[in-house]
Amino acid sequence: MAEASVKPTPLLKDELDIVIPTIRNLDFLEMWRPFFEQYHLIIVQDGDPSKTIKVPEGFDYELYNRNDINRILGPKASCISFKDSACRCFGYMVSKKKYIFTIDDDCFVAKDPSNKDINALEQHIKNLLSPATPHFFNTLYDPYREGADFVRGYPFSLREGVSTAVSHGLWLNIPDYDAPTQLVKPRERNSRYVDAVLTIPKGTLFPMCGMNLAFNRELIGPAMYFGLMGDGQPIGRYDDMWAGWCVKVICDHLGWGVKTGLPYIWHSKASNPFVNLKKEYKGIFWQEDLIPFFQSVVLPKDCTTVQKCYVELSKLVKEKLGPIDPYFVKLSESMVTWIEAWDELNPGGPAQK
C-alpha cells in the first residue's frame, strides 16, 4: 500500500515578513537569495541613522532607522532599544503579516548531513503550520513530521495538538553560548545535526535565541517585546531571553505551543567574549531570580488576550522584580508602552484564546 504523497509546503509569501536587525551591512542576504527573494523584508537599522545600509538588488523591503522609529512612535519610541539587536521587535510591530521570521545578519545557509542546503524558512513554516503537543511528551519528537507519529500510550484526546505560536531554530558552527562558557571553550563548535523538532512541554521554560526564530505574529506578536537593552541600559544580550520567558508563560496560559529544533542555520561570527561578558554580567546574576519569578507566574483566568496577559505580566514584573533593581521598574513600564504602541499600530484587535 503506498503512503500518501507529501504535500508541498506553502510558500506563504504574502503572509510572512522577514525581520532583520542590522548595524553593518546585509551581504549575507546574497546566500539566502534563493530562499528569501520572494518574501518581503523589514530591515531595522540600529546605530547611526545617517549611515546608509546597502540592500542587495532584487529584494523587496522596507527599512527603518532610528529616526523612523522616533517619528513613527513619538515618545513611545523609548521602549525600543538602541545599539542592540533588540531593536528588531520594532519590525514585528510595523509588520502587517501573519507570520514573522527573524534572522541575524551573521547567519548563513547550513547544510544537512546529506550536504544539501537547508531551507530554514521552509522548515519554520512547516513547524508553524503543524500543531504542537505541549500537554504530553512524544518520545519520537514531532508526531506530525513525515515518517513519525504518536507513540503507544499517547492519549488520543491530545493528538490534535494545539496551535504552534513559535518555532525556535538552532545553529551549527558557533553555538549560542554565554560569555563565561565562551571563555572556557573558545574553540567549541556545534557539529551535531539533531534531526528533530519537538514541542517544549507546558510549564517548562527555555532560553529562546532570536538568531533563527519564527512565530505567528497574529497569535503571539504582542508578547515578542525584546525589552530594554544596549545603550543606556545596564544589560545586554538578554533581549531574546526576556521575550522567550514572557512568550512561554503566555503561550502556556493561552494553550499554544512552542517548538524547538530544526531548522539549523550556520552561525558564522563568534562575538567577543569579553565584550559579551560586560553586557551579560548583570543578566547572569539576575537570571537566578528571573527564572523562579517566571516559573511561579500565574496569570488570572480573565486574561484571555495576549495584550491582557502581557500587561498583567508587567505589573508582576514591577511588583516582584522591581525590588531587585530599578531597571525592572523601567522595564515594566516600557512593557506597557510597547503594548500601547502595538495596539496603536495594529488597531485590528487582539487574537483571542
Partner: protein, 437 residues
C-alpha cells in the same frame, strides 16, 4: 535575595565542569589554583590526569595539601566529569541486563547481542505462559528464572502476575546490581546514522551516570555530551543538574506505535536516527516504553512494577499498557524526588512481529484507558514526607485507589498490586539471593 555568586566562583564552577578539556593550569595565580583544587576535590572530580595538572603547576600550597591529604599519584579514577565512551568508569559488574523471554528460541537474539552483552551478567526471565523450554546459546554469564522461581520466591500473589511482558519485572526483583538495562527479545543492535554499531549499554550507562536537567530546558539537548554545553540564558545555579534515574531509549524500524496507528500506516517504519539525549522536564508526562529502558535500581527499583493489566493483554506490545502505567508512576516519583528522566539515544532495531490489525481487533481497552489516566498523573502531587521511591510509590497507590479506583475496578486492582509489590520488593528485592532448591 541571596548574594549573587562572584565572577571568580562562576569561572571556577565553569572550569570544574570542563576539567577534561583543560591541559595547563600553570598560568593561573596561586590563590586561584588553590581554590580550583579545593573545588575539584569537593566535586569529586580528581583523577590521575587532573592531579598531574595540579602537580605540574608547582604551587607550594597545592603540593602541601596533596601531601597532607595523602593523595597518591597513581589512583583509580574517581567520578570523571564527562563520561566519554572510552573512559567509562562504571564497572561492568554494576550492570545487569534483563530480558523477558516471550520466545523460546533465543539463539539468534543472543548471538546478535553477543558483542555487546558478553561482558555483562544477564538475567533472563521466561514468560510463565511459554510452554517450550528456552534455547540459549553458550558463552554468556547468566541466570535464568522461570515459573518455579517465581512461585518459590514470590509465592501465590493475588494482584501481581508475571506473565507476558511483565515477566521482566521478576528479573528486576532478582537483580542485585545498581543499574539495570532491559530489552525486549525481538530487538537487535542498531547502527547509527554513520553506519556504526550503537553502543547500547555504554549509552544507557552514560545517560544514567551523567546529570539530568529537568528544571530548565537546554535547547542544545544534553549539555554533558561531548561537543555540547548549556546555552546562553541557562541559569548557572541549575547547571550541576540532578541524578538521572531512568533512561528511555528508542527504536528503529518497528517503532513503538499503538495498534490503530500502525494499522492505519502499515508501511510506516522509523528510519530517522535522532542524535540526541534530552531530559524530560519536571512536570511533563511521557509514555515510557518498556522495550528499551535502563534505570538505577538502587534508587527507583521499587517504583517499577507490573501493576496494570489489561483484560485482553497479550504477547505483543500493541496489546499491553503495563509499561506506560509504570512509566507514569516513575515519572511522578522522579519529579517529586528531584531525579531526572532522559529520553533519546540509544536506539535498538526492532524486528517485524505480529499484525497490528489483528491486535486492534483484540484490544481497544488500553487505548481508552489513557484518557482517564493522564489527567490524574498530571495533577498528582505527593506529600513532602515521601522521600524514597517506596514511599512515593505507596502514596501513588493510595491516590490511584481513591481517585481512579472508584470508577474502574482495574485501577483498584492496580493500586493493590502496587502495595503488594512494595512488600515483595522489601522481602525479596535485597539481601542474599534466595538459594535454589
Amino acid at each position: 535575595m541571596t548574594t549573587p555568586p562572584s565572577l571568580l566562583s562562576l569561572t571556577i564552577h565553569s572550569a570544574i565542569h570542563n576539567l577534561s578539556r583543560i591541559s595547563d593550569l600553570s598560568f593561573l595565580p596561586d590563590h586561584v589554583v588553590l581554590d580550583l583544587f579545593l573545588e575539584t576535590l569537593r566535586a569529586g572530580k580528581l583523577n590521575e590526569r587532573v592531579l598531574k595538572l595540579f602537580v605540574a603547576t608547582g604551587k607550594d600550597e597545592v603540593l602541601s595539601l596533596i601531601e597532607a591529604f595523602n593523595i597518591q599519584q597513581i589512583v583509580t579514577p574517581v567520578l570523571p566529569t564527562i563520561l566519554k565512551m572510552s573512559q567509562l568508569n562504571i564497572m561492568d559488574s554494576e550492570v545487569d541486563i534483563v530480558v523477558g523471554a516471550l520466545h523460546s528460541d533465543l539463539t539468534s537474539f543472543m548471538n546478535e547481542w553477543k558483542p555487546i552483552f558478553s561482558q555483562y551478567h544477564l538475567i533472563i526471565v521466561k514468560d510463565p505462559e511459554l510452554k517450550e523450554d528456552l534455547i540459549i546459546p553458550d558463552g554468556f554469564d547468566l541466570d535464568v528464572y522461570s515459573q518455579q522461581d517465581i512461585d518459590r520466591i514470590v509465592g501465590a500473589s493475588n494482584s501481581i502476575k508475571f506473565s507476558g511482558y511483565s515477566c521482566r519485572y521478576f528479573g528486576y526483583l532478582m537483580s542485585r546490581k545498581k543499574y539495570i538495562i532491559s530489552i525486549d527479545d525481538d530487538c537487535v543492535p542498531a547502527k547509527d546514522d554513520k553506519g556504526l554499531l550503537v553502543e547500547f549499554v555504554a549509552q544507557h550507562i552514560s545517560n544514567l551516570s551523567t546529570p539530568a536537567t529537568p528544571f530548565f530546558f537546554n535547547t542544545l539537548y544534553d549539555p554533558f555530551r561531548k561537543g555540547a554545553d548549556f546555552v546562553r540564558g541557562y541559569p548557572f545555579s541549575l547547571r550541576s543538574g540532578v541524578a538521572c534515574s531512568l533512561s528511555c531509549g528508542l527504536w528503529l524500524n518497528l517503532a513503538d506505535y499503538d495498534a490503530p496507528t500502525q494499522a492505519l500506516k502499515p508501511s510506516l517504519r522509523n528510519t530517522r536516527y535522532v542524535d540526541a539525549v534530552l531530559t524530560i522536564p519536571a512536570g511533563a508526562m511521557l509514555p515510557v516504553s518498556g522495550i528499551n529502558i535502563a534505570f538505577d535500581r538502587e534508587v527507583v527499583g521499587p517504583a517499577l512494577c507490573p501493576a496494570l493489566r489489561l483484560a485482553g493483554e497479550g504477547k505483543f506490545r500493541w496489546e499491553t499498557m503495563e509499561d506506560i502505567w509504570c512509566g507514569l508512576c516513575v515519572k511522578v516519583t522522579c519529579d517529586h524526588l528531584k531525579l531526572g528522566v532522559k529520553s533519546g539515544l540509544p536506539y535498538v532495531w526492532r524486528n517485524e512481529r505480529g499484525s497490528a490489525v489483528e491486535s486492534l481487533k483484540k484490544e481497544w481497552e488500553g487505548v481508552k484507558l489513557m484518557e482517564e489516566v493522564v489527567p490524574f498523573f498530571q495533577t498528582l502531587r505527593l506529600p513532602e514526607a515521601a522521600v524514597t521511591a517506596e514511599a512515593c510509590f505507596l502514596e501513588i497507590a493510595k491516590a490511584v485507589k481513591e481517585k481512579l479506583g472508584r470508577s474502574n475496578q482495574m485501577f483498584a486492582r492496580a493500586a493493590d498490586a502496587m502495595v503488594e509489590w512494595v512488600e515483595i520488593w522489601k522481602n525479596a528485592g535485597s539481601g542474599p539471593l534466595p538459594v535454589d532448591n
